[in-house]
């Protein structure tokens, strides 16, 4: 186990901000889906593989409400 390797990125949605534009679900369907009311939800635990990192950045940059956070896992 190499503890010096960087932690993976994780996406999350600020549910107070999300208004259901669903841009994230379209731009990054592997990471987001919409619920029965149309609000965005993170699939699984939100861990972003290296292959999906660009897609996650695109989803965050295109959210009109600025509701998507992308950061390195804390632990």
């Amino acid at each position: 186990m190499n503890d010096t390797s960087p932690k993976p990125y994780v996406v999350s949605i600020n549910t107070d901000r999300c208004q259901g534009h669903t841009r994230c679900c379209t731009l990054a369907p592997e990471l987001f889906e919409s619920d029965d009311l149309g609000y965005g939800c993170v699939r699984g635990d939100g861990t972003v593989s290296d292959q999906l990192l660009e897609m996650a950045k695109l989803a965050a940059a295109n959210c009109p409400e600025g509701a998507i956070m992308l950061r390195r896992a804390q632990s």
Binding site: Q19, G20, T22, R23, S34, G38, N62, P64, E65, G66
Partner: protein, 399 residues
């Protein structure tokens, strides 16, 4: 005849010919010297903020800016609720929650076969004519037919709906009486359907609203009629305008059109860019308490023209905002609004635009405007082409 505008900063008029023809150049000029234009042409005074940041702040501030009146008028009309678009907190959340499920992506996706069939039928009806009005023969019919099917009413009533919307959103800005008589007609129209669906439920939105509850109580008839009116006002001219403007862009920008035909995977980003650049909807707020936004004062009783189209052209927010870039990657546009009143029908609108452009480009990959024929744009808070005479060309099938 309206007095022409000579001072856009202090006497703006969104019914002026110049605004109707090409607002973006005008907005750039105003924005260069003034972040908020004002006007006394509208009761209580009107404000037109041009900065994305101010429009965002106002959309989020329901304490100072009420949504009860969504049209900027010369004379304010009595408030006529169309929940949830005209609702402020705390009534807003439950009224919106009731309507969210049928417009969530999963439910909206079920209408795709219907939408595609409507598009194919409309294109079949155009047949092999080489010149026709795309705004009238294609763009206006799609959202109208979709909404009549979703409501479960007669397809033929679509013409009536478009007349009502025109009177409510445009004609009545200067002629308040016209709105009152139309509202009476709409009320009797929907009362009859509500009664029919109470007796015999069907799989449609009128039945859905008749059976819906807030806190265990059925919706009042007034609430149901208001929400149905909202679906008409918000569901027809909006998508008609967005589709018409997209076709206008493709008719006048052959390089973008050919690229989309060659690279259909660009359609989603192209649609978002058309929505940004040609946002059809401008909303309104009423100032309910004196306040400041972005350092500018807003006085109680004033009407705010909340132009998402202007927000989407702000160079502080978007790089090169007046260029239409169909593969623009960073595009968090506000065409469907910002904050709690995000357009309820945005998923439906996107699906209609996607299917319509797919089917259109399949049928008519090569087209432009009929030379010498004027494009007529709608006036007021909904912007899109109402006359768009296109000429179809034979496509080069050898390429």
């Amino acid at each position: 005849m309206r007095p022409p505008v000579t001072d856009w900063e202090h006497d703006f008029d969104h019914f002026d010919e110049r605004w109707t023809q090409d607002p973006t150049q005008l907005w750039s000029e105003i924005r260069a010297t003034c972040p908020v234009a004002t006007s006394q042409r509208f009761e209580g005074g009107a404000y037109f903020p041009l900065r994305y940041a101010d429009i965002y702040a106002i959309a989020y501030d329901s304490e100072h800016f009420s949504s009860q009146r969504i049209i900027v008028r010369e004379q304010k009309l009595p408030v006529r609720g169309m929940p949830p678009i005209t609702s402020d907190p705390p009534a807003h959340t439950p009224a919106r929650r009731v309507l969210l499920p049928p417009f969530a992506p999963k439910e909206v996706a079920k209408h795709e076969p219907l939408i595609r069939q409507i598009c194919v039928d409309l294109l079949d009806a155009i047949g092999d004519r080489r010149e026709f009005d795309a705004a009238v023969e294609f763009a206006q019919h799609l959202p109208t037919l979709v909404i009549t099917h979703m409501l479960g009413v007669d397809e033929k009533d679509g013409d009536l709906f478009r007349t009502w919307i025109y009177v409510l959103s445009t004609q009545s800005v200067q002629d308040p009486e016209s709105a009152l008589s139309v509202l009476g007609e709409i009320e009797s129209y929907f009362k009859r359907y509500i009664e029919l669906r109470r007796q015999q439920p069907a799989d449609d939105l009128i039945t859905y609203l008749v059976q819906a509850e807030i806190d265990g109580e059925p919706l009042t008839e007034r609430h149901i009629i208001g929400s149905l009116l909202l679906l008409l006002v918000a569901g027809i001219d909006t998508t008609w305008s967005a589709l018409g403007a997209s076709l206008w862009h493709l008719a006048t920008h052959p390089e973008d059109r050919r690229r989309l035909v060659a690279e259909p995977e660009l359609l989603p980003s192209a649609i978002e860019e058309f929505l940004r650049a040609y946002s059809p909807v401008t909303m309104a707020r009423e100032v309910v308490e004196d306040t400041h936004v972005g350092g500018c004062p807003y006085a109680k009783g004033g009407q705010v023209l909340l132009s998402f189209a202007a927000a989407n052209r702000d160079p502080e927010k978007f790089d090169d905002p007046d260029s239409v870039i169909i593969d623009r990657a960073h595009n968090p546009h506000a065409a469907f609004g910002l904050g709690r009143h995000r357009c309820l029908g945005s998923n439906l609108a996107r699906l209609e635009l996607t299917v319509a452009l797919e089917e259109w480009l399949k049928r008519f990959p090569e087209f432009d405007l009929v030379p010498g024929s004027d494009v007529i744009w709608s006036e007021g808070q909904l912007r899109g082409p109402r006359t768009l005479n296109v000429m179809i060309h034979a496509s080069d099938t050898t390429s």
